[in-house]
């Protein structure tokens, strides 16, 4: 394995071309990302969600409790189950 001077020259060229290309591509990633964010912000901003005050449902159960129960039912039933009513069982 003897080093070849022309190979070393080619390797130096690759160093220059390779690093410039990687910087160029990532610079374009940065620039295109910034432009994309501006365009999306301008033309398709996310609808502002109105926060409702937590209130109790007709059954008297707090919304966060209903959400927790619904999430558990969805997980356990693999998305097939649905919560229609919640009743407290007296012991």
């Amino acid at each position: 394995m003897d080093p070849n001077s022309s190979d070393i020259g080619d390797a130096l060229v690759l160093l220059g071309v390779g690093m410039i290309t990687v910087f160029l591509i990532l610079a374009l990633v940065v620039i295109s990302g910034s432009i994309l964010v501006r365009i999306v912000n301008k033309y398709a901003p996310e609808p502002v969600k109105k926060l409702k005050r937590a209130s109790r449902s007709a059954s008297g159960t707090a919304p966060e409790v209903i959400a927790a129960i619904a999430a558990v039912v969805e997980t356990v039933t693999g998305g097939h189950g649905k919560v229609e009513s919640i009743k407290k069982i007296e012991h």
């Binding site: 394995m1 003897d2 080093p3 070849n4 190979d7 070393i8 080619d10 390797a11 130096l12 690759l14 160093l15 071309v17 390779g18 690093m19 290309t21 990687v22 910087f23 160029l24 591509i25 990532l26 610079a27 374009l28 990633v29 940065v30 295109s32 990302g33 910034s34 994309l36 964010v37 501006r38 999306v40 912000n41 398709a44 901003p45 996310e46």
Partner: protein
């Protein structure tokens, strides 16, 4: 007596006695299995690779990959399976064609979140600086007598990306695939050791205490993302177009990465595709990649000086890449009011997300409130793109 002779010939004892170096390879396989199982060094890939080495080096099993020849190149897959066994069939069908690394990249894309990078776009530059190890080791390897193609395949270990290293080796130096894969994955597993080692000698305590969130408060970003979900859906499409036009040879890797990411970001409509890419396909590809790469490592192909040089060169490439990222941050800090923690530069090599986690842990040691994981992920993810682009440049120039 004749029966005993036949029984002896049926077993592998005779063949092992004829070639004692086989025992060295079997010991190496057991050592790699120990690293994967006992030490948990990248077990998902190191265990299949190690077992592939084991299978390939039991004589008579016909599970070792036969180096490519003109005759094999012109055989059909069925002929290869009949003549050389199923491991060769898998190798020539899945590895030699370069199929598996892009499939793994698709899975990686389906598990990658570009959100941290979009929120800290400027940090993506450090993913470029951390590719310097690839090219400096390429030059050193040529000086040591490696051919340009072999040197490029060796240098790409510095990108710290296993599939990229394997893909480049397949395209440029398939005869070095085994040692390159072993070096790449071993050093990726050693990221928690190598990054702190390089940081220890190059970064001061004051620099390590630079708190990224405080810097953000002092110098807030001019652009706030209002709809991150839409942005994350459009981003892979835009990025794919840019990379495809400028470095088409990196498209098999980057394109599949971005496709995987797109089906993840679309959400429930493509959820089944995302699950397939990140789970079923990724796992199957990992098994076959590991076993076949391991099966390339026989005593005849692995036990020589070149392997040692690759293992050593891979480590140097890795360390220089981390050093390059750190130095780029230091240069940035000289000219900018908003300081960046040099650990962000250290994560510019791939090895997602382990490099980011290691950087985060180091930062927390010096300041318990300095959680920089999200910032590190930006340069870490850009490092994946950077190393794939570097591989594309090398392949298009040298193949």
């Amino acid at each position: 007596m004749e029966v005993l002779n036949k029984l002896y010939e049926m077993t592998a004892f005779g063949a092992i006695g004829d070639d004692p170096m086989t025992l060295v390879m079997l010991a190496l396989a057991l050592f790699l299995l120990y690293l994967g199982i006992g030490k948990r060094f990248e077990p998902l890939l190191l265990v299949p690779i190690a077992f592939g080495v084991l299978l390939a080096n039991f004589p008579g099993g016909n599970m070792a990959v036969t180096p490519s020849t003109d005759i094999i190149e012109h055989m059909t897959i069925i002929e290869i399976a009949k003549e050389y066994g199923i491991m060769n069939m898998l190798y020539y069908m899945l590895i030699k064609t370069g199929l598996l690394p892009p499939l793994i990249f698709m899975g990686v894309g389906a598990m990658t979140d570009f959100g941290p990078m979009l929120r800290n776009l400027k940090l993506a530059f450090f993913g470029a600086a951390a590719q310097i190890g690839i090219f400096t080791v390429l030059i050193s390897a040529v000086a040591l007598g490696f051919s340009l193609k072999e040197a490029a395949a060796l240098g790409i270990i510095g990108g710290a990306d296993g599939p990229t290293a394997i893909y480049t080796a397949i395209k440029l130096a398939p005869h070095l695939l085994g040692p390159i894969a072993i070096a790449a994955y071993s050093y990726m597993a050693l990221v928690p050791v190598i990054i702190p080692l390089v940081v220890k000698f190059t970064v001061t305590e004051k620099e390590l205490k630079i708190n990224m969130k405080e810097q953000d408060k002092l110098y807030p970003s001019k652009i706030k993302i209002k709809d991150i979900n839409r942005t994350k859906i459009i981003f892979p499409i835009v990025l794919c177009a840019i990379v495809s036009i400028l470095v088409p040879s990196s498209v098999p890797l980057v394109g599949m990465l971005l496709f995987g990411n797109l089906i993840k970001e679309i959400g429930s409509d493509t959820n089944r595709l995302m699950v397939a890419a990140s789970d079923t396909i990724m796992n199957a590809a990992t098994i076959f990649l590991g076993l076949t790469v391991g099966a390339t490592m026989t005593a005849a192909t692995f036990l020589d000086k070149t392997t040692l040089l690759i293992i050593l060169g891979g480590f140097i490439a890795f360390a220089i890449s981390i050093f390059g990222g750190i130095m780029a941050v230091k240069v940035h800090n000289l000219f900018s009011k908003k300081k960046i923690n040099p650990l962000i530069g250290a994560t510019g090599l791939s090895a997602v997300p382990m490099a980011s986690r290691v950087a985060n842990d180091i930062a927390l040691k010096y300041d318990s409130k300095n959680h920089l994981l999200q910032y590190a992920m930006s340069s870490n993810i850009s490092g994946v793109i950077g190393s794939a682009v570097a591989a594309g440049v090398l392949i298009s120039f040298l193949s």
